[in-house]
């Protein structure tokens, strides 16, 4: 039987050269000037690599209390809580991102922040998974391979951020980019279907995009390993924290103002 040819060979030599040239041109527009978005270029046929690490900086000072634009955008983008899922108990419903309000008991200072999968460098969910379904991509995105997930929910217990959900209902009419089904665990994917697109079509995750549209601009998404990316520059400029830094998980999501 014929072996399926590697997907990468679908990329013609000509296309590959063109893509390569575009990348090079983008980086060397002029001395000292580089096009940030082009620097991320990854042709769709190329595997993700550890030359990138996707992450986010969330400025809690800009995050508005009571605003749930990011949560709504996430639900719409990923088709969460539709159909039979609406019958699930509130505590069973899929929650890839949620708003958390914190209040300092001493000073009364209140902070509102979005909390989702923190895309740890050392993810506990991956450690405990008995089948290898919970895994970290080369570029730092932590995902669940639902083809392998047996729904044991160890990862849900291991996650210190309570970031994962379990699908309790039989689903129909899923969003084509986000396959989901009963009996598997799921969590924020950093909208991989958006960031895997080639440069021209690459978009920020739905939550960050919605936050920008709303005018809060509290969520900056980008490549943590690229020193020219907006997120890296912001991280360098301001002090930021990871939630539960004591656990040594080195999350890709960092916060300002907590």
């Amino acid at each position: 039987m014929n072996k399926p040819e590697a997907a990468s060979s679908g990329l013609s030599r000509r296309k590959f050269l063109t893509a390569g040239a575009a990348t090079a041109a983008g980086v060397t527009v002029a001395p000292g000037i580089s096009l940030l978005s082009v620097a991320h270029a990854k042709p769709v046929g190329q595997a993700v690599s550890d030359e990138q690490r996707w992450g986010m900086l969330i400025d809690t000072n800009k995050c508005a209390k009571g605003c749930s634009a990011c949560v709504d955008a996430c639900n719409t983008e990923n088709g969460l809580n539709t159909g039979d899922e609406q019958q699930s108990r509130p505590e069973q419903k899929a929650q890839w991102i949620r708003k958390v309000d914190l209040r300092d008991k001493l000073t009364g200072h209140e902070v509102s922040l979005p909390l989702m999968c923190q895309h740890c460098e050392n993810p506990p969910c991956v450690d405990v998974c008995p089948t290898g379904a919970s895994f970290k991509r080369e570029d730092g995105v932590v995902l669940v391979d639902k083809h392998i997930c047996i729904g044991c929910r160890y990862c849900m217990m291991a996650c210190p951020y309570k970031a994962r959900s379990f699908i309790h209902e039989e689903l129909t009419h899923q969003v084509e980019n986000v396959p989901r089904g009963k009996g598997t665990v799921e969590s924020c994917t950093l909208c991989v279907h958006r960031i895997d697109e080639d440069t021209n079509n690459q978009r920020d995750p739905a939550c960050a995009e919605a936050c920008n549209t709303e005018g809060h601009k509290a969520m900056v998404f980008g490549d943590l390993k690229d020193s020219n990316s907006t997120v890296s520059k912001e991280l360098k400029k301001h002090s930021s924290k990871a939630i539960r830094e004591d656990l040594g998980l080195n999350p890709g999501i960092r916060y300002r103002g907590i």
Binding site: M1, G45, Q46, K146, V175, E197
Partner: protein, 146 residues
């Protein structure tokens, strides 16, 4: 009169049995895709489509390779079947492209427990309307089940 009726019944039985005996082995009617040609020759796809899909599945999931040639999304977008009302049928309908053969060969597939079986946006279902209405709902939903 009784004799005549018996004759009629006998005749019907004989006719029926002869037609079924004469008919060929039933074969599945496989609907045509929307494009002129599939990503590989039809015969090749009939034999090996599961290999291509499986290979692409792991590449996409673990390596983020989202090329279109063997993309599952692409299969679904091209191999649509419409019902009498002109709506694209879902996997629950026996006329769905995958069902047309898989029912015949009695091979159960579970792809569509997670994947959309119709192109999003063109589906006959209410995927979009329900998502839209949901986003307007409050985060803490009521429990309609009880």
């Amino acid at each position: 009169m009784k004799y005549l009726r018996m004759m009629l019944v006998l005749l019907t039985v004989v006719l029926l049995s002869s037609t079924t005996a004469m008919a060929e082995v039933p074969s599945p009617t496989i609907p045509k895709g929307n494009a002129d040609q599939c990503v590989k020759p039809t015969q090749e796809m009939r034999v090996n489509h599961m290999e291509y899909i499986l290979h692409q599945r792991d590449d996409t999931m673990h390596k983020g390779i989202r090329t279109e040639q063997f993309s599952f999304k692409k299969c679904i977008n091209c191999h649509t079947v419409k019902d009498d009302a002109g709506k694209v049928v879902t996997i629950k309908d026996e006329r769905h492209f995958c069902n047309s053969c898989h029912t015949y060969v009695a091979v159960k597939i579970d792809c569509f427990e997670c994947h959309a079986s119709t192109p999003t946006g063109k589906a006959s279902g209410n995927a979009h309307s329900s998502i839209d209405s949901l986003s307007k709902m409050s985060a803490v939903g009521s429990n309609n089940n009880e």
